[in-house]
């Protein structure tokens, strides 16, 4: 079907933003300095106010679609910092996801993006194919995503992948206070098995019986963020059935991108979804057993800090560990430039943002960096490597907290 690029964009689907949603932007500019791409470029076209204005004009028929328009939308990280600081309540996350979906519909197919989409579909939707790092690497290379390694962002060294315990249930340590399900997700069990182990251990310490429903699949967040709303919907419907069980009260998720997607888009399941730290802060952990001596700084994952407004809980949990000295870096809640597939699709911008982030990280001289999302972890590791600082490990905050108990 030929698509007329000069026609006004139309957002599709039940949660599509309306013209009223677009009009909530009063053009005050208060979001500008929080936007990572505006901070490094100084260009208003690379700012939330600018992107909103462009999308508004595009949907009202005031501006045609061109490659340049696509560029400005592509360069958005989708970090939603703007949404968190916007006093007017502009639903930026929803608007940009639909903007992207419309973009994918009309743009002339761009080779790199298409391969990335195909790889994503193949790999993430079918957990079986995701089992080995080799496969992933080969596919990444096939996808032309070699920038992954070119910019020093290499996939982490692999240990054994995470395996749920026999029977897919881990018992509480001590009396059972809660029954929860755990989202194992798509890339985490392979890339960061230790994050999962530590998270599950903490849940057990908190008195949870942890279930690992075997049929669960990728939550679909990466698809939604990249404009593939159809695949996202398919995965969502599947998982909604899987997690509908009454065997547990909450679905606990330790990857910020996934928990935010579940909360925003999953019917029924969304209300029962909790981020790991949100949950632990709510139910409480017993007093720590060991001291953990470390000077650490915490990087807010965007999907935790901005999409879910969770900033206090991980910091409180970290500070409660005796021996931990938590030092705030400047602008800890500004994106590191990882943003899902962004670092692979927009390596240049991602690198510039990461550079600023590294200045902030190193300015507080931490011994460890902790965060709560695999993408951020990978990006920060790459950043430290490029500065020759592999002596500073990057970990999921759960790993550090778990050391206080095991």
């Amino acid at each position: 079907m030929a698509i007329d690029v000069r026609r006004a964009a139309v957002f599709h689907g039940p949660d599509a933003p309306s013209d009223d949603d677009l009009a909530t932007c009063v053009h005050c500019g208060l979001c500008l300095n929080y936007c990572p791409t505006y901070r490094v470029t100084g260009l208003e076209t690379e700012s939330p106010r600018g992107r909103l204005y462009l999308m508004t004009q595009w949907t009202r028929g005031g501006l045609p679609f061109t490659r340049d328009l696509a560029r400005h939308l592509d360069l958005c990280l989708g970090c939603r910092t703007c949404e968190a600081v916007c006093p007017s309540g502009v639903p930026y996350g929803r608007i940009i996801e639909h903007g992207r979906a419309e973009l994918e519909r009309v743009r002339k197919v761009d080779a790199k993006r298409t391969t990335a989409t195909i790889v994503m579909r193949q790999v993430l939707k079918h957990p079986g194919r995701l089992r080995t790092l080799g496969a992933l690497m080969r596919l990444a290379q096939a996808a032309g995503l070699t920038s992954l390694s070119a910019q020093g962002r290499q996939l982490p060294k692999l240990s054994e992948p995470f395996k749920p315990p026999a029977g897919n249930v881990a018992r509480a340590l001590g009396p059972t206070r809660f029954k929860v399900a755990f989202l194992t997700g798509c890339v985490m069990p392979i890339l960061y098995a230790r994050s999962h182990e530590a998270s599950v251990q903490l849940l057990q310490v908190a008195g949870c019986e942890v279930h690992f429903p075997a049929a669960q699949r990728c939550c679909g967040a990466l698809f939604a963020h990249n404009g593939d709303l159809k695949s996202a919907r398919g995965l969502r419907e599947h998982n909604e059935r899987v997690f509908a069980s009454d065997d547990y009260d909450f679905l606990v998720v330790n990857s910020a991108g996934c928990s935010s997607h579940l909360k925003d888009f999953y019917d029924g399941v969304g209300e029962r979804t909790r981020d790991l730290f949100e949950f632990l802060a709510e139910v409480g952990l017993p007093p720590p057993r060991h001291e953990v001596r470390a000077r650490v700084t915490y990087q807010d994952p965007c999907h935790l800090a901005h999409a879910q407004r969770i900033k206090r809980q991980p910091r409180e949990l970290l500070s409660s560990v005796p021996g931990v000295e938590l030092v705030e870096m400047p602008h800890a809640d500004i994106c590191c430039g990882s943003a899902g597939l962004y670092s692979a699709l927009e390596p240049e911008m991602s690198r510039r943002i990461l550079d600023e982030k590294m200045d902030s990280v190193l300015s507080v001289a931490p011994e460890q960096v902790v965060t709560a999302n695999p993408g951020c972890q990978m990006q920060l590791e790459a950043g430290l490597k490029s500065r020759g600082r592999t002596d500073i490990p990057v970990r999921h905050a759960a790993e550090l907290i778990a050391e206080a108990y095991f």
Partner: protein, 480 residues
């Protein structure tokens, strides 16, 4: 003449290929600042230092092109709008804090530095930069100087002009000058005073030496809720009547409180007719005494709830509500038209009543959020630009509100500048001689009148339609 390919090429040579933009998307975004007026530039240039600015101005002089400086585009009077097209000169690449001198308590900064970022950096040395426009997390020091901006804490500390020691400026002929110095009181003519607040019509600011102050030992913030605007206004007069000048004294009305609570949950009681935010700072002991004294006055004046912030987090939240208030009005209607007339403090209640009456007359919701301590009103007329014919009503109502301020012995603008929204009203407060004197200064510094034309000075002859009209891009398909 004008902006042909050869001029563009020259500009690109002057500032670098990537730093001249005339892509439709970029232009469209630059057609507006935070006000509702707009017009497209012909191109945007992003120089990085005074020499490049000078080169741009020279090229513009050759080609007779208007040049409009732009900081963060948070201005509320259309100052950064390229009313007559030409070049938008963005200072976004001037982002360096060149030096902080903790001993001399000054900072040397580039104009594109964000007010809040300077504050963060100064705080590392136990210092702060006093002028704090509510837009401080986005607006630039250069924009602040050009607008002579105020902010909640300017009641006690004074507005921007009191905090600028010297500036490097480029004139429209491309010459670079340093005006002012390191010390507050310079001998000779006060050229600095002329340039601060000149809204980009006299010179482009490329560097600033600003004053920093030591962070006060103690700060105490309290929120007081009143049944009505009248009772809150009386409290304001009473506090100041007792000889107390708090660091800040701000008021929000019922409409604003509702919008703010929807986003910030700052803890303002939504049943209140008005809320006051009062802040005092200084030595721990005196701040405590002052807070107690103010509490007593407010209680006598019908405050039905008074809360003193317990910790920095609570203080920040109380302020977040105030500072985000204008943006939060988007919860009610997608557009605001904001004036910032000033009235003598004692006449606040009657002028506010009149403002309310005008709003009702035109059936337009009005939200008031303002610097009560110095009588600087901010009536926000709320509306939806997509409604046909609404703009006429909005403009009429705005004009009448300003008139009410003037009639009460006040003036046109406290801090947002005249820009192109209020220039037509200048003759209300200035006689022909005053205006001629101002024009004479303009003629000396910018003889060909190409720096930010169409601002401050009343337009000769017919007033142009002020709302976004000149946009060249598919204008028929646009809403306005």
């Amino acid at each position: 003449m004008g902006l042909g390919p050869r001029t563009l090429e020259k500009l690109r040579r002057a500032v670098g290929r990537d730093h001249v933009v005339w892509d439709a998307y970029d232009l469209v975004i630059f057609e507006r600042d935070a006000s509702i007026t707009g017009a497209l530039p012909d191109a945007i240039v992003y120089p990085a230092n005074a020499e490049e600015v000078a080169a741009v101005l020279e090229i513009a002089a050759e080609q007779q092109l208007p040049v409009v400086p732009r900081g963060a585009g948070t201005g509320l009077s259309g100052g950064a709008v390229t009313l007559h097209g030409g070049l938008a000169l963005s200072l976004a690449r001037f982002r360096r804090i060149i030096e902080i001198d903790p001993k001399g308590r000054t900072a040397l900064v580039e104009p594109g530095v964000v007010n809040y970022d300077l504050g963060l950096e100064a705080a590392r040395h136990g210092l702060f930069y006093a002028p704090d426009p509510s837009s401080q997390k986005a607006c630039t020091i250069g924009g602040n100087a050009a607008e002579n901006s105020g902010g909640p804490h300017c009641l006690y500390y004074g507005v921007t002009t009191n905090h600028i020691l010297g500036m490097e400026v480029v004139l429209s002929d491309g010459s670079v000058h340093w005006v002012g110095g390191e010390d507050p009181d310079q001998p000779g003519l006060d050229l600095l005073g002329v340039l601060v607040g000149s809204e980009g019509t006299l010179a482009v600011i490329t560097k600033l030496r600003v004053k920093l102050l030591p962070t006060p030992e103690a700060v105490s913030t309290l929120m007081a809720a009143f049944p009505s605007i009248e009772s809150a206004s009386k409290a304001v007069s009473d506090v100041i009547g007792h000889g107390i000048v708090p660091a800040a004294l701000e008021m929000m009305d019922k409409v604003t409180i509702g919008a703010v609570e929807a986003h910030y949950k700052a803890g303002y009681p939504t049943s209140a007719g008005a809320v006051l935010l009062v802040e005092v700072d200084g030595l721990t002991e005196s701040a405590r005494e002052l807070t107690a004294a103010i509490e007593q006055i407010l209680e006598m004046d019908e405050a039905f709830e008074i809360r003193v912030a317990e910790d920095p987090a609570e203080r920040e939240l109380l302020w977040a509500g105030r500072k985000g208030a204008i943006g939060a009005l988007g919860h009610i209607k997608p557009n605001y038209y904001l004036h910032d007339g000033v009235v003598p403090r004692t006449r606040l209640p009657e002028v506010l009543r009149e403002v309310g009456r005008i709003g009702e007359h035109y059936r337009l919701p009005v939200a008031n959020v303002f610097h009560a301590g110095d009588g600087n009103l901010h009536p926000n007329i709320l509306f939806d630009l997509r409604e046909k014919g609404i703009m006429k009503k909005v403009e009429k109502a705005g004009e009448e509100m300003l008139r009410a301020c003037i009639d009460a012995g006040g003036t046109l603008s406290g801090e947002h500048g005249i820009g192109l929204e209020k220039n037509a009203f200048m003759p209300w407060i200035f006689g022909p001689d005053d205006l001629a004197a101002m024009q004479a200064v303009k003629d000396v510094l910018d003889p060909s009148g190409r720096l930010n034309p169409g601002k401050i000075f009343p337009p000769a002859g017919q007033i142009e339609p002020k709302l976004i009209a000149r946009s060249g891009v598919a204008s028929e398909a646009r809403w306005w």
